[in-house]
């Protein structure tokens, strides 16, 4: 960001955007609610979707923390690019490992196939 940009968006001389308190409180309340949902949903049997649902809710919570508590919503986009790229590499890592695992696991160790189909 050039000094000219800084000057034009900088009305109060503040170094950075200050998050309104109500927004912080609202995000916190939403996070608490989503935590309750995460626990409550374990009493509903969705089969394999339970894991998907748990991870989905966790990702929504994580997004709220990243965007509002960690200020990514108002930061330079490159900070978010760094974080998302990190997640992409981690996803690549875990996906490739899992592809290998689920293909061979039933036959890998004689007599020790998974008791439940993964």
């Amino acid at each position: 960001m050039t000094s000219a940009d800084a000057a034009s968006s900088d009305h109060s001389g503040a170094l950075a955007h200050v998050v309104p308190w109500r927004l912080l409180a609202g995000v916190w309340a939403t996070l608490v609610f989503l935590t309750v949902v995460t626990v409550a949903i374990t009493w509903v049997d969705l089969g394999r979707l339970n894991l998907v649902a748990a991870l989905l809710i966790a990702t929504i919570k994580a997004s709220l923390v990243l965007l509002y508590f960690m200020h990514l919503r108002w930061d330079r986009p490159f900070n978010a690019v760094i974080f998302v790229a990190t997640l992409c590499f981690a996803a690549l890592f875990i996906t490739l490992a899992l592809l290998d695992t689920t293909t061979y696991q039933p036959d890998l160790i004689p007599g020790y196939a998974p008791a439940i189909k993964p």
């Binding site: 000094s3 912080l24 995460t38 990190t86 899992l98």
Partner: protein
């Protein structure tokens, strides 16, 4: 806040930056890169979790019952609340609210103690009941899972008492390493918070300089982020 004279006299502006705003953005960028490396660190453990759970889900379904959902849930709420007070503390520093800043940093630090305390209680239970890692996994007869056998049997789809799968120690190995490494990060975060609190009491922070609070806050939020994923993956397996 842009004239050369101000630059020369601003004690917080390092000379290789053109102005304070650019400096703050550069510091934040460096912090985000560090947070990226922390995520990659934990991703190795999450990969181990994923591979073991995909290979032998029966181990996870059986063993997770020994974890106390309530304690895990309370810990989640404690960390989420501490993230709220941390973000609020950054705001307080930015607007120069000194007393609020000190109080909020103190509350965030206290939440860290509560989290570790609950974790300590959980670990102690595991120790007493022999539910440890690797060859130290020696389940005591009186080890009572947090869930009843009936619920567990329903999960496994078996009508009778649940069959104890082989290699249950794998779950506890993963549990202790993941929550242990996370706990070490909480301790490190608490050390940072204590230092920030010390500096805040000295009056170091205000509207013109709040960078350490901002960056320390980012680290604390990351600790919360990791727990947000650890909780459902370890405690809430269906």
């Amino acid at each position: 806040m842009g004239t050369p004279a101000e630059h020369l006299h601003d004690p917080h502006l390092q000379h290789h930056f053109s102005d304070r705003r650019q400096q703050l953005e550069a510091f934040k960028l460096g912090m985000w890169i560090f947070l990226g490396t922390e995520v990659l660190l934990f991703s190795g453990l999450f990969c181990a979790y994923a591979v073991y759970r995909a290979s032998h889900p029966e181990v996870f379904i059986y063993a997770h019952r020994f974890l106390d959902k309530t304690m895990g849930g309370v810990n989640t709420l404690v960390l989420i609340f501490s993230s709220f007070t941390m973000a609020w503390a950054v705001r307080a520093a930015q607007i120069g609210a000194q007393r609020a800043l000190r109080r909020l940093l103190g509350i965030t630090l206290a939440c860290g103690f509560v989290f570790l305390g609950i974790k300590g209680v959980e670990y102690q239970h595991k120790w007493k009941e022999g539910l440890l890692w690797g060859t130290r996994y020696v389940p005591q007869e009186h080890a009572a899972p947090a869930q009843t056998d009936h619920e567990a049997a329903a999960e496994l789809g078996a009508p009778a008492a649940p069959v104890v799968p082989r290699n249950v120690h794998l779950f506890f190995g993963i549990y202790f390493v993941m929550t242990g490494l996370h706990g070490l990060h909480v301790i490190a975060g608490m050390a940072v918070l204590a230092w920030l609190l010390l500096r805040a009491r000295r009056g170091d922070f205000g509207a013109s300089y709040f960078t350490p609070v901002d960056l320390g806050g980012l680290y604390w939020h990351l600790v919360d982020l990791i727990w947000i994923y650890l909780f459902p993956l370890l405690y809430l397996i269906h």
